[in-house]
């Protein structure tokens, strides 16, 4: 028998939080993890607009410059 849909009940049960776990396991070796982390930081400041202006991130200001293939991230405290 098909379950009867009850979105209110489903929404209440979301409090478990971890609702689905993938069959694919994402594991990174340390080198890859470091690379990911740095890539992650660069993408994040780029999305925040740091290529055009200084952007605030808590107590820091960040600015991203490109020099050819080189990226320079400046940090002001």
């Amino acid at each position: 028998m098909k379950p009867k849909i009850n979105l209110a009940e489903a929404a209440e049960a979301e409090s478990f939080g971890a609702l689905a776990i993938g069959r694919r396991r994402f594991r990174h070796k340390q080198g890859a993890a470091t690379s990911t982390l740095i890539h992650y930081l660069l993408e994040m400041v780029r999305e925040a607009g740091a290529e055009k202006r200084w952007v605030r991130a808590g107590r820091l200001s960040l600015r991203l410059h490109s020099e050819g293939r080189k990226k320079v991230l400046s940090v002001r405290e």
Partner: protein, 188 residues
Amino acid sequence: MKFPVAARFVERANSARVNGEIHRATWLDIAAQSQWDYEENALDREWDWAGIFAITQRSRSSIECYAAVVGEELHGLMAIEAKGRKIGRSEALVLEYLATNPRNRTGGLKYVGVTLLAVAVARSKELGMAGRIWLESLADAKTLMFYRGIGMTEQTAKSDENYDVFTFDVDSAEEFFKLAQAQSWITL
């Protein structure tokens, strides 16, 4: 499907409705996720969302990641495998990971999982899988209640890794999808 998708959530404390959206996740969302404050025993506290998202950024990746947000606050993340999985003669979209912000577990917002699931159904339809979804779930009374509530069917056979398996067939997915739209939880 055009993103962002308008979504509506509900405050657990006072049942007030809150407008938000679901969009393709960005690194800013992943940065926000890194600030989620998990309980010590939360089963997803070790999930590597940065690693999952990094894979979505590869050129031939078929993994897609979506974020549920209100203003600048991240309330949920979902990763799907757009290539699908064969179930009998049909293909189903695989929902890889789905988690809500830990703040939404003791208070905060409801309907984050419901709206993300509705987006997964929409992507399944768009990708030619007619709304079919396949996923593995941690065994818990609440997850069972969640998936039953949205109309997914629990499969008798467990997954290779001994997790519970839930599926959406075409009819149930459509019924859920129409209801989620009719009740304005998402607007597509």
